[in-house]
Amino acid sequence: MHSENKPSFGLKFAAIGGLLFLHLPILLIFLYAFTTEERSYQFPPPGLTLKWFAVTWNRPDIWPPLYLSLKVGAIATILAMILGTLVAASMSRARFFGREQIALLIILPIALPGVITGIALRSAFSVMDIPFSTLTIILGHATFCIVIVYNNAVARYRRLAGSLAEASADLGANSFQTFRHVLLPNLGTALLAGGMLAFALSFDEVIVTTFTAGQQATVPIWMLEELVRPRQRPVTNVVAMVVFAATFFPILIAYYLTRGGSETAGGGK
C-alpha cells in the first residue's frame, strides 16, 4: 500500500493562482508593446502593431541610458568578480577572531534596504567631494554585485581550498599551478554564474542608482521618467521587454550553471 500524498484541489488552485498573480502582469507588459493605443492601457487592446519597435529604435533619448546601463553593469560586474573572488578566497581560508562578523559585513549590502545603501553612499561621496557621475553609479552597484559573486564563489571555494588544493601541492604543484589547474577550472562556473546574476541585478537597479547618479539616467530610471509622460506609452513596454531579456537570460544561465552543486545561486535584492 502506498501513501496518498497528492496535493488537494485547494492547494493546487492556490498555487496556480499565486503563479498567475505573479506572472500575468509580465505577459500584459509584453502584450501592450504591440497595442495601437498609445495613451492608455485599455483592455483588450484595440489593435496590434509592430510599429513601436521601429519607434523605439528611432528615439534618440533611449540610446544614452541603454549605453550607460550596459557600461555600468559590465564594469560593476568585472569589479565585483575580481573583488568578490578575492574576498571569498581569503574568507574560506582564514580562521581568525571575528571572522563570522566580517562575513556578515560582506553580505550586509544585499540585506540592507537600497535606500540605506543609497543614502550612505550619497553622503560618503559628498563628504569626499566626489562628483556624481558614471563612476559613482558603478561604485554603488559594485557594493551589491560583490555580494552576489562572493556568495557564489565562497561555497565553491570551501570545498576546493581544503583537500583539493592540498592534493595539488602534494603532487608537486606551486601555488600558481594550483590556482591555474585546480582552483580556476572548478571555480569557473560559479564565477560565471555570479557574474551573470550581478549583471542582471545591476541592469535593473533603481534605488541605489537614484541616489548615486548625477544628471544621467540608466534604463530603469529612464523608464520611470517615461511613465509620467502621456505620449508613446508602448515604447516603455518595448524597453521593458529588452530589460526583461537582459536580466532573465543571465539569471537562467546562472541557474543552469550552478544547478548540480549545492551552492547559493544568489539572492534577490
Binding site: A167, S168, A169, D170, L171, A173, N174
Partner: protein, 331 residues
C-alpha cells in the same frame, strides 16, 4: 641505515593544544608503518608534518636524512593518499593520475602513457576516460593511489585509507595494499583509528595518545605486551587488571593485561578467582563471556562447542601463567 622518516623532539602546538608533543620517531625504509590512535591523539597531525601541510613548532623532521622542516609540500619526495581521496572533479581519471608529471612539465603523450601504466598497476586499466564522479568508492581510492604513486615517492602517506569503504572492500583492499607495498618496496606510512587494520597490515606500529607516543613496536609485540593500560585497552580490548586483582591472580601488585582469548572458564571450586557471569555474547567462532570479579569486569573468549554458563551463574577463571602480562607504566 638512515631512516625513511625521523622525528627529533617534534612538537606541533595549536595555541594551548599540544597536538603533537616532543615526539621522537624513526620509520625504517621499506616498512609498512601504522600510526594508530583515537581521534585527536595526534596521529593525523604527524602525517601532515611529514607531508609538509603542518610545520613543527619545535624539533626537526628528516626524510632520508635531509632536514625538511622548512621544505614546502610540493618539494618533498613524499606523496599522500587523502582520506576523502581529493580527486580533481574536473579532470578525468587519466589526467588526475597524470597531474604530478603535468605540473612537472612532462609532455602529454609521455605522461599519459605513464598514467595508463599506473592505472594498470591498480587494476583500473580501462577507466582512464571516466570522471571521478562516475566511480565507486573503491575505484576512487585506487585512482588516488595511482595518482600518488606516479611521482615515485620514497614515502607514501595514507590518511585513513580504508575508512570510507565498506567491510568487504576494506578487507580486500588491505591485502592489496600490503602486496603493493611489497612489490614496490617503498615505505608506506598510514594513519588509522582501527586497531584491526593496523595489526593486520603494518609491520611496525606506533600508538598515539594525547600527542605523545604511548608505545611503538611490531604488532605482535604491542598486542602481546602492552606497556600501559591505555594500550592494553585500545589494542584488542584487553582485560586490564588492577594491582589488587593481579596479586590475587598470582602476580605482583601492578597493573596487568590479560587477553580474553587466553582466558578460560573453570569450575569455581578449582579457580583462584571467581565471579558472576554478567553477559554472554555469541560471536560465531566464539562467545564472549563477561564476569564480574569483585567489581572488575573480566572477559573470556570461549571457543564454539564448549559449554556456556548462563547469566548470573558462578564461574571461575583460569589461564596459562604466561598469559598475564604485567605492565610497567602506571597510566
Amino acid at each position: 641505515m638512515t631512516s625513511a622518516v625521523s622525528f627529533a623532539k617534534v612538537s606541533r602546538h595549536f595555541g594551548k593544544v599540544k597536538a603533537v608533543d616532543q615526539v621522537d620517531l624513526e620509520i625504517a625504509e621499506g616498512s609498512f608503518f601504522a600510526m594508530l590512535g583515537p581521534s585527536g591523539s595526534g596521529k593525523t597531525t604527524c602525517l601532515r608534518l611529514i607531508s609538509g601541510f603542518e610545520q613543527p613548532t619545535a624539533g626537526h623532521i628528516r626524510i632520508f636524512g635531509e632536514d625538511v622542516s622548512q621544505t614546502p609540500p610540493n618539494r618533498r619526495s613524499v606523496n599522500t593518499v587523502f582520506q576523502d581521496y581529493a580527486l580533481f572533479p574536473h579532470l578525468n581519471v587519466r589526467d588526475n593520475v597524470a597531474y604530478g608529471p603535468m605540473v612537472a612539465g612532462v609532455p602529454k603523450a609521455q605522461r599519459h602513457a605513464k598514467a595508463e601504466e599506473m592505472l594498470d598497476l591498480v587494476k583500473l586499466g580501462s577507466y582512464g576516460d571516466r570522471k571521478p564522479g562516475q566511480l565507486s568508492g573503491g575505484q576512487r581510492q585506487r585512482v588516488a593511489l595511482a595518482r600518488a604513486l606516479i611521482n615515485e615517492p620514497r614515502v607514501l602517506l595514507l590518511d585513513e585509507p580504508l575508512g570510507a569503504l565498506d567491510l568487504k572492500l576494506r578487507e580486500a583492499m588491505q591485502d592489496e595494499l600490503k602486496s603493493l607495498q611489497k612489490r614496490l618496496g617503498i615505505t608506506f606510512v598510514f594513519v588509522t583509528h582501527d586497531q584491526h587494520e593496523a595489526l593486520s597490515m603494518a609491520d611496525q606500529l606506533v600508538i598515539f595518545s594525547d600527542g605523545k607516543i604511548a608505545q611503538q613496536g611490531s604488532p605482535e609485540d604491542v598486542y602481546a605486551r602492552p606497556n600501559s593500560r591505555f594500550v592494553a585497552d585500545f589494542v584488542g580490548s584487553s582485560n586490564v587488571l588492577s594491582p589488587d586483582l593481579t596479586r590475587a591472580l598470582g602476580g605482583p601488585a601492578k597493573w596487568a593485561s590479560l587477553r580474553p582469548e587466553k582466558t578460560m572458564l573453570a569450575a569455581p571450586a578449582k579457580a583462584a578467582v571467581k565471579g558472576t557471569v554478567t553477559a554472554v555474547r555469541y560471536l560465531g567462532a566464539a562467545s564472549r563471556v563477561v564476569l564480574d570479579v569483585g567489581g572488575n569486569e573480566i572477559a573470556a573468549l570461549v571457543p564454539a562447542g564448549q559449554d556456556l554458563p548462563v547469566q548470573g551463574a558462578e564461574a571461575g577463571i583460569a589461564f596459562e601463567p604466561d598469559a598475564l602480562h604485567v605492565m610497567e607504566r602506571e597510566v
